[in-house]
């Protein structure tokens, strides 16, 4: 175990892997040299596009006259749905490039203009005449449930006999919890630049997590073969899932306008349009019922998870599946039923967001466990511990995957001790007793998160490695660098494999020309999969080189060692560069591709059963908060967390992922609120109204510990995926707030607090619990 993200002592033979090296672009970031799509040199005849968005939540387009836009100064082309040969895009049918006949959410794209400047395009677009006839709009989950409006069929996961088990249970509780969505707020907004190539081809610079999907969809809407389209991505200014499917319409519009005009076209959404146009994390409504024994052990649970999906399926199927697959979190649920409803609403189509439904599933079961504990007057930590996976017959998830023994109990035990949980709980109790207007709360919550795409076929990756005759290495893989340090980690793996210093490995922009048919960089799987693929490519070259080295150094191939830029065999050695040069002279290929498919996983969607995940990543966090009882304002005083990263490829990068995810999760559950007005218009569409955490919201006392136990599965250098799981550690903040609100009641009542726990929700929950406590007192006095 290492603390503070420091590396463990270097091990023999691995100079680069496991080292806490800085981000591959760090120096470019701090000097402003790092180029994002909007920073690329602009081709001389570049046009700028503007996307006109609907200002109605649901309406028939009665009249659409684009001619005033086309006649406006500087305009080169205008597109409406009628101009498109193929309007349908999206991972599953349901999404359109441009609205056709009706608009289905406020923010949907209606019309696109290309002009000499972005401002001219914007002005022209607003001159188009559009008459709408409003139709009834369904905006909330409740409205959709009432209207039976769904984008996909309801999914059920069941184990045992939850109905009878509930009836048999000694204690029963039920409740509901509303969980708000979340805007990605990547700092770099959606952007693409399409550059026509000869013969009808198109080069698309896109800020996307899914270059292959952009390529395929651009080819589809242009009516050209996939081979005629290239997507190139050097880096993203943040993605978080928001550029997995949502980048494609931007790229498609740019490409369509480029095809029509024969000129390069750039489309960049400003912040307001970006937030109005694109999907977000799904809001969830959780309705639950639980049966449990006097010790707080859950015997049966029934959960109904209803989510706001927006107008189309997009990724709502797998997102909601993952919510179901994480509705157990760390707990063994003997009898369980989870019903997942995918509600259709007149809002932007909700999409991938770090955790991909997992966080909402975890929130649901954590609510149940916390309520059980409060009902029985037990410390919630004790009840959490009692329900953990482990022990005979208690190690299999409701969907049939075995849970590795021991990790979670060990993490909880360690954290309870290092965070001083017990004595702090005592201190908080004493503090609250003497503090009528400020209350504190504490909570420890665990996380177990499954790593792999649930759609098994997505678990494949490719890489391409070239060695040049000077021994320098060119690395390309199918993953996208969006800040998570993927390029660095993969380069570390390749440098280690070839035994060359890291600066000999040049990582380049991801392009569909070098690695085809890739999966999105998502599901915390980027370094697991691309790292493996690149390792295999490097190994293929190394095998060829080793054979030659054995000849050149008069030894056996099995004895050749690649290390520190040298190649040794016995006592003889040569530099890696000399060997590469020799290989070229001997007509040995210095290029190889690598391909990796995640082993062992399988999934039966119909039975909702199988082994969807190669492994689980686990962790736990303790948060302590303070609440102002008069205003509901609150702040996090201290956080302690332990997170399991396997044998980390780069502990500094992993610590960055953990801390960043935690703070992002904290924002989701506290200050980040999406607010629609009565007309179904999202009104929090800029940072002035949508509040992500700022530096001052992060606790000064923030203790992060990496648990570096090698992965049992044969992942790349036994590391673990780390992008998503730590986001859910922030659920401890939400439960600490519940704990502080509970301290305003009589000590036994459970707070009614929805997420995000804004000051308003916290204050209203305090009012409500006080009124209930008072009512109980009066009831007791009257009887």
């Amino acid at each position: 175990m290492s603390h503070d993200g420091r590396a463990r002592p270097a091990r023999p033979g691995s100079g680069t892997v496991h080292a806490p090296l800085p981000h591959e672009s760090a120096e470019f970031h701090v000097t402003g040299e790092a180029r994002y799509v909007d920073d690329l040199p602009e081709p001389r005849d570049l046009l700028h596009a503007y996307l006109l968005l609907s200002d109605r939540a649901h309406a028939r387009i009665v009249r659409l006259d684009a001619s005033p836009a086309l006649a406006s100064p500087g305009v080169a082309a205008v597109l409406t749905a009628g101009d498109l040969r193929e309007n349908g895009i999206g991972p599953v049918p349901g999404d359109l490039v441009l609205a056709d006949g009706t608009v289905e959410y406020c923010g949907q794209s209606v019309l696109a203009v290309a002009a000499e400047t972005a401002e001219l395009a914007r002005r022209a677009a607003h001159r188009a005449v559009i008459d709408y006839q409003d139709l009834p709009a369904v905006v909330t989950v409740e409205e959709a449930l009432a209207a039976d409006a769904f984008v996909l069929p309801t999914q059920v996961m069941r184990r045992g006999h939850p109905g009878p088990a509930l009836r048999r249970a000694r204690h029963r509780l039920s409740g509901r919890l509303s969980i708000g969505g979340q805007e990605h707020f990547y700092l770099e907004g959606q952007v693409a630049m399409a550059v026509p190539r000869e013969g009808g081809g198109m080069l698309v610079h896109s800020s996307t997590q899914h270059p292959s999907e952009v390529q395929h969809l651009v080819a589809r809407v242009l009516g050209v073969p996939q081979g005629a389209v290239v997507t190139e991505v050097r880096r993203l200014g943040g993605g978080f899932g928001g550029k997995e499917t949502q980048a494609a319409p931007i790229a498609c519009v740019a490409a369509l306008l480029a095809q029509r005009t024969g000129r390069p076209v750039k489309l960049r959404l400003d912040r307001d349009d970006d937030i109005r146009f694109t999907g977000k994390r799904h809001d969830f409504l959780v309705e639950w019922e639980a049966g449990f024994d006097g010790e707080g052990r859950i015997q049966a649970v029934q959960l109904e998870l209803s989510s706001r999906c927006g107008i189309s399926p997009d990724l709502s199927g797998p997102v909601n599946d993952r919510a179901v697959l994480h509705a157990d979190n760390a707990y063994f649920l003997p009898h369980v039923q989870v019903i997942s409803r995918r509600c259709r609403t007149n809002t932007a189509s909700n999409t991938a967001f770090r955790g991909f439904g997992g966080p909402q599933g975890v929130m649901a079961i954590e609510q149940v466990v916390d309520e059980v504990a409060r009902h029985l007057g037990l410390d919630p930590l004790e009840v959490r511990r009692r329900n953990l996976y482990g022990g005979p017959g208690r190690d299999t998830t409701p969907y049939g995957q075995k849970v590795e023994r021991g990790a979670l109990p060990a993490i909880l035990a360690e954290l309870e001790q290092t965070s001083d949980y017990a004595s702090r709980r005592e201190a908080i109790h004493a503090f609250n007793a003497g503090s009528p207007h400020t209350k504190r709360g504490i909570a420890l919550t665990p996380i177990k998160f499954g790593i792999s795409f649930t759609a098994t076929f997505l678990n494949q990756a490719g890489a391409l490695v070239h060695v040049y005759t000077d021994g320098s290495v060119h690395l390309n893989h199918g993953g996208v660098e969006m800040g998570q340090g993927l390029n660095l980690k993969v380069a570390q793996v390749v440098a280690d494999e070839l035994g060359v210093p890291l600066d000999r490995v040049q990582v380049t922009a991801t392009t569909t020309e070098k690695v085809p048919n890739t999966s999105a960089t998502a599901a915390s799987s980027g370094s697991d999969m691309n790292g493996k693929a690149a390792q295999l490519a490097a190994r293929a070259i190394k095998v060829r080189l080793a054979a030659l080295a054995a000849e050149e150094l008069s030894g056996r191939a099995g004895e050749v060692v690649f290390s520190g830029g040298d190649v040794r065999c016995g006592k003889r050695s040569m530099t890696f560069a000399e060997l590469a040069e020799r290989a070229h002279l001997h007509r040995i290929s210095l290029s190889a591709s690598g391909f990796y498919r995640t082993p062992k996983i399988h999934w039966d969607q119909r039975r909702f059963h199988g082994r969807p995940f190669l492994y689980f990543a686990c962790g736990a966090a303790v948060s302590e908060v303070e609440v102002d009882v008069l205003t509901g304002e609150h702040r996090v005083l201290r956080v302690d967390l332990v997170h399991d990263v396997g044998d980390s490829l780069n502990p500094a990068i992993d610590r960055g992922q953990i801390e960043g995810a935690f703070v992002q999760g904290m924002g989701w559950l506290t200050s980040e609120e999406l607010w629609w007005d009565e007309k179904g218009r999202l009104r929090t569409h800029a940072p002035s109204t949508y509040k992500i955490p700022a530096a001052g919201d992060v606790p000064e006392d923030f203790r992060v510990s990496l648990r570096q136990t090698p992965n049992r599965e044969a992942t790349v250098h036994r590391s673990k995926g780390v992008g998503e799981p730590p986001l859910m550690l922030a659920i401890s903040v939400f439960h600490a707030l519940r704990d502080a609100v509970a301290a305003c009641g009589d000590g036994r009542l459970s707070p009614r607090l929805d997420a995000p726990a804004t000051p308003e929700r916290v204050l209203l929950a305090i009012q409500e619990i006080r009124a209930r406590a008072l009512g109980q007192d009066q009831g007791a006095a009257a009887s």
Binding site: A26, L236, A695
Partner: protein, 488 residues
């Protein structure tokens, strides 16, 4: 007419003419200059990705301040030095200490916000010699949003930069002072292009004469609100008159009877005097916008634009502030309570200017507090602002002020609540009577920041909090202290 903006960039004088005067510095950098290190994240001054640093001569000394390039019109650069992220590398390519520290502390992930952080840190590092406290760091970084790192490594990098030592920037600034002095201009800057005009007079008389002659001119101070008309509403602003280059309007005068803040003094310029006047006023001002915003925005602008959710009007109302107005050669003073007439309507006559805000010294023993409640502590618009003052005499309240923002179409004094407090002991009974009176006086709305019900509840609770803090049981102890103000 003096139709070119002249400023320093990379050691040379740039002279820009023939450009729309409402072009923002960000648009100019990323557009014609193709200097793309400075990013656009929101175009409304809330994310800080566009942060640049301005250098200017103040009393013969170069002062650096971080500002949002997205809200700054290009003419605001006139006579100043502009530093962008590209300016920081030393000759020979060495990184500036703040850049090096960010690399060493793993302070960047996606990197898009990083140039903005670099510039905020650069302004701090070059301006303050002592390593900052965590609280100061939070203050300096409040206007820079990062979605990747969770901030911890960035905060750490600030400390690391100070530990790295060597600051060669200081000596270079003597040359800078000379160069800046060379850019000083005596007459108004007057820019016109494409049917748009911006005039920046150099004296109050010149300014007052201009606005009297051109009552249609929009008055530009810090531009942190006015800039949004261009970047968010895409409006054409045909005529702007800038008050920022009038030295008289930057004056902050403290006398035995008053504190007078010139209408063009930025929050940052006024903050020391406001904090000295009353710590609660200083604390309130430190929560307005961010460092970048406070380095541009003015108290005068906050009052003159008469937003119902402005942060300072409730406090100024509670302190019986008045506004000094000027129309041509005529000067008058008006109590602030008669200044706000309706939603974004004021008592300003056509062509009349707000030139200063006067805050009288309160009677000895007057208690005052201002509170701001918002979803996020830093850089947020208030759901409710409450400000309260009481003067007591012989155990009874002689005068009470209860003022709110965010509770009506204008910043409002709740006179019925004040009446409930006046003439009675300052105790729970009178406070509860005043809270009850608020019920009918306040007309809050529900919007994305808060529901009407919450606003109502909090308004009353803030008055209770005021009483608890200044007179209630355990007054002066931690009870009731805003969590964000508890220093660890």
């Amino acid at each position: 007419m003096s139709g070119a903006v002249r400023f320093l960039l990379d050691g040379g004088v740039r002279s820009i003419s023939g450009i729309d005067p409402t072009t923002t510095v960000l648009q100019w950098l990323r557009g014609p200059e193709r200097r793309c290190g400075t990013k656009e994240g929101c175009a409304e001054g809330d994310c800080g990705a566009c942060t640049v640093v301005l250098g200017e001569l103040v009393g013969g000394v170069v002062r650096l301040r971080a500002v949002n390039a997205c809200l700054l019109f290009l003419p605001a650069l006139d006579g100043k030095a502009l530093f962008t992220v590209e300016s920081l590398r030393a000759q020979g390519g060495a990184l500036h200490p703040v850049q090096r520290a960010l690399v060493e502390c793993h302070g960047s992930q996606c990197g898009f916000c990083t140039p903005g952080f670099v510039m905020s840190m650069f302004a701090l590092y070059e301006s303050e010699r002592e390593p900052p406290t965590r609280r100061r760091v939070d203050e300096v970084l409040a206007g820079n949003l990062c979605r990747c790192t969770g901030y911890r490594p960035i905060v750490e990098a600030v400390g690391r930069a100070y530990a790295l030592g060597t600051r060669d920037g200081v000596s270079a600034r003597e040359g800078l002072a000379q160069a800046l002095a060379g850019l000083a201009r005596e007459r108004a800057l007057d820019l016109e292009h494409g049917g748009k005009r911006l005039v920046a007079p150099r004296s109050l008389d010149e300014l007052a004469a201009f606005t009297a002659a051109h009552p249609e001119a929009l008055v530009l101070a810090g531009g942190t609100d006015l800039g949004l008309l261009v970047t968010k509403e895409h409006r054409d602003l045909p005529l702007l008159v800038s008050v920022g280059e009038v030295p008289e309007l930057h004056q902050v005068e403290e006398s035995a009877t008053h504190l007078e803040i010139g209408a063009a003094a930025t929050y940052s310029e006024a903050l020391p005097a406001l904090s000295a006047y009353h710590p609660s006023l200083g604390a309130l001002v430190r929560r307005i916008g961010s460092t970048q915003i406070r380095n541009a925005a003015t108290l005068g602008g906050n009052v003159a634009n008469a937003s119902p959710v402005g942060d300072t009007p409730p406090a100024l109302l509670a302190l019986d502030a008045s506004v000094v107005l000027r129309l041509g050669a005529e000067r008058r003073e008006l109590p602030l309570s008669s200044f706000f007439l309706g939603y974004r309507k004021t008592a300003l006559r056509k062509g009349e200017l707000l030139t200063a805000i006067r805050i009288p010294r309160g009677a000895p023993g007057r208690e005052f507090r201002a509170y701001k409640v918002s979803k996020r502590v830093d850089q947020d618009i208030a759901a409710v602002c409450g400000a309260f003052a009481v003067e007591r005499e012989a155990g009874r309240v002689r005068a009470a002020r209860v003022a709110f923002g965010g509770m009506a179409a204008v910043p409002l004094r709740a006179v019925k609540a004040e009446a409930e407090l006046t003439g009675r002991p300052f105790g729970e009974a009178s406070v509860e009577a005043a809270v009850a009176a608020l019920e009918e006086e306040l007309k809050p709305i529900s919007d994305m920041r808060a529901s009407a019900a919450y606003r109502r509840l909090v308004a009353g609770n803030l008055l209770r909090k005021f009483w608890l803090e200044v007179a209630g049981p355990g007054a002066g102890e931690q009870g009731g202290k805003r969590p964000a103000e508890v220093t660890p």
